[in-house]
């Protein structure tokens, strides 16, 4: 019988970012697939070698505009380790706060896009309306909506004052209420379940074989969240990963929905227990040696390899982003699915191509 071959992306209304899949369909079933990326590859790792190491904080923030804070933080953590800098506890707690609101905004963004992928426009609008409050909060505390530039080597660039903390607490509470109203639709609506349950199955074994990370891995029943390692102030705040076992798109949505609630809780706890003191320490000297840093980004495990040589310039900066690790599992999940499920499954990994290609 005949088959249909057509490109899916790079420019495609359902894809927020350029990703190309050359898909072969039989009727509407996906029977063949080959991926292509490279539309966002800039060569950022190389550029980082040319810049001075403090400048790189701003560069790595732009690896990805959605989780830019996490990139900056991981980079800073690496440099701090190389230079033996101990950052003040207040900065550790603030890093948790910023990480968690970044995660919150990223997950809300994803939930909206996911809803859009299966054609639920209203739900998309609801999630993004809720997300705007978080962006306001970011603007209030960091001065920018998406790229915060709050993180600096040695701590946090701008400390929060009491009023800001109050506002933040209020916004977080409000968002929690809002999500209580919206989440049931994502989790219980019949039409949503029809489109997500059982779509893009990834078993625990396959998740390991294909190297999935983050919510993908956790939705397949592996309880791995790097926040368990207790970097920043996570050890003090207490943390248990969110795990689901079904391994389908619905489970991934469920993991992220539960993580939004967890993030709100963690962010509020961080603010409540925020120690007094300085938010940053002064930095002197140049990094020397090599280190690997891992952080749990909204999309999963982020790894930075930094190698300095005692000069202002780094010898090598290597960034392995979570989407880079999650893309291979698409090759496992897509074949055999319906054409209409392609966007749902592609989005279920929460692709961040900009991260992937750097």
């Amino acid at each position: 019988m005949g088959r249909i071959t057509a490109p899916f992306g790079p420019q495609h209304p359902v894809l927020p970012e350029p990703l190309h899949l050359n898909i072969t369909y039989e009727d509407e079933k996906v029977v063949g697939l080959s991926p292509a990326i490279g539309y966002v590859h800039r060569g950022l790792e190389k550029t980082a070698e040319k810049k001075e190491y403090p400048e790189n904080v701003f560069l790595v923030e732009r690896v990805c505009g959605i989780c830019s804070f996490m990139h900056a933080m991981t980079y800073c953590m690496g440099i701090e380790e190389l230079m033996g800098i101990e950052i003040p506890p207040r900065a550790q707690y603030l890093r948790v706060f910023y990480s968690e609101i970044s995660r919150l905004h990223s997950h809300l963004l994803w939930l909206g896009l996911f809803a859009d992928a299966f054609g639920f426009e209203n739900l998309f609008m609801q999630y993004w309306a809720a997300r705007e409050k978080i962006l306001d909060l970011m603007e209030l505390t960091g001065g920018q909506r998406v790229i915060l530039s709050s993180c600096a080597i040695g701590g946090i660039r701008r400390d929060l004052n009491a009023e800001q903390i109050d506002t933040a607490q209020g916004v977080l509470m409000q968002t929690e209420e809002e999500l209580k109203r919206i989440n049931p639709v994502m989790l219980n609506a019949y039409t949503v379940k029809q489109r997500t349950v059982g779509k893009g199955m990834l078993s625990r074994e396959d998740a390991l074989l294909y190297g999935a990370v983050g919510p993908m891995l956790r939705a397949s029943g592996v309880a791995q969240d790097l926040r368990q390692t207790g970097y920043a102030a996570y050890r003090e705040l207490g943390f248990a990963p969110v795990v689901e076992t079904d391994g389908d798109s619905y489970a991934r949505a469920l993991v992220r929905v539960r993580e939004t609630c967890q993030s709100i809780e963690l962010a509020r706890k961080a603010l409540e227990r925020l120690p007094e003191g300085e938010a940053a320490v002064k930095v002197k000297g140049n990094p020397d040696g090599e280190t690997m840093q891992r952080v749990e980004q909204p999309r999963g495990e982020l790894l930075y390899y930094i190698k300095g040589n005692g000069s202002k310039n780094l010898e090598r900066l290597r960034i392995r982003t979570p989407t880079f690790a999650n893309i291979p599992s698409l090759l496992k999940m897509l074949p055999g699915c319906e054409m209409a499920d392609v966007p749902v499954i592609v989005l279920s990994i929460d692709p961040c191509i900009s991260c992937t290609e750097r």
Binding site: E28, G119, F120, E121, N122, T191, A340, D341
Partner: protein, 288 residues
């Protein structure tokens, strides 16, 4: 004859105005349901006027001819409807119109418009039986397939055919391209199909299709209004209520797949019709 021509003329002029306005209201109300302000009510007219002024792009003459066929045949079915014609013929003419739209999509060697056409065909497969069963129901109830004979009925059709009306609502969802059945042309953006059949139409040709959708909307709401002919005002209210229900459905549903659509209409929709027709048939047999 002259009267009939007048009616046709009136339909040709008034229907798009009405249809465009309804589409505008739809867009505003949908925006409100999503917590937005939404566009001006006259937005659809701006859109179409703008499209008329754009550069014409097309693959070949066939593509344009079928789009035009879609428009003309929908107008023809609407005119037949307003003249009180035979429901079956109206349904068949609508089928030709939809077929013409499908062929327009097929006329370009483009994957997205091709798949859109295949999906539109499946949509036809889904709603066509319900529409014909609706006509049969009208016949069983009134002894005639003619729309004009409905006006001789004292009792509204809704009273005897409530289930068929519900089935018609399903058809309406498919035909006016609302979630969960917005499958073939992606009325709302962000779909795997890009814009489905309309992907390869642009400028004035797209305007043609937009206007056709308006005519079609009026025709479909006319079918809904048919369920309450005395007084006609009630029928119009019924149609508007149906339209509003569609908007709500659109806003509380994810888009589903074609497999689901076929299963749903061929079981749910058709069974609703069958039960309803069965009851009418038994009652009639018993009554006589």
């Amino acid at each position: 004859m002259v009267k009939a021509l007048m009616v046709v003329l009136l339909v040709v002029i008034m229907a798009p105005l009405l249809g465009g306005l309804l589409t505008g209201i739809d867009r505003v109300l949908t925006a409100r349901m999503q917590g937005r302000v939404g566009p001006p009510v006259l937005q659809p007219f701006y859109d179409v006027l703008k499209l008329l002024g754009k550069e014409a792009l097309a693959a070949n003459r066939r593509q344009v001819a079928w789009a035009l066929g879609y428009l003309v045949l929908i107008i023809a079915s609407l005119a037949l409807f307003c003249l009180g014609g035979d429901l079956l013929i109206i349904v068949f003419t609508m089928a030709f119109a939809a077929g013409s739209f499908v062929l327009g999509g097929f006329s370009v060697r483009s994957p997205y418009s091709h798949i859109g056409s295949q999906r539109e065909l499946l949509q036809m497969l889904a709603y066509e039986p319900v529409l014909i069963l609706l006509a049969l129901g009208v016949y069983l109830q009134t002894g005639s397939f003619m729309v004009k004979d409905l006006f001789h009925q004292s009792q509204p059709l809704l009273a005897s055919m409530p289930l068929v009306f519900i089935a018609l609502l399903i058809v309406l969802t498919i035909k006016i391209r609302k979630s969960p059945f917005d499958l073939a042309t992606s009325h709302h953006g962000h779909q795997e199909l890009v814009k489905g059949i309309t992907t390869e139409y642009s400028g004035p040709y797209l305007a043609l299709i937009e206007v056709t959708h308006w005519y079609e909307l009026v025709l479909l709401l006319g079918l809904a209004a048919m369920f309450w002919t005395h007084p006609l005002g009630a029928g119009i209210l019924l149609a508007l209520a149906a339209f509003f229900i569609e908007m709500v459905i659109d806003n509380i549903c994810a888009r589903l797949t074609w497999n689901w659509m076929i299963k749903f209409t061929w079981t749910g929709g058709i069974i609703l019709c069958l039960i309803n027709l069965g009851v009418i048939w038994v009652l009639r047999a018993g009554g006589v």
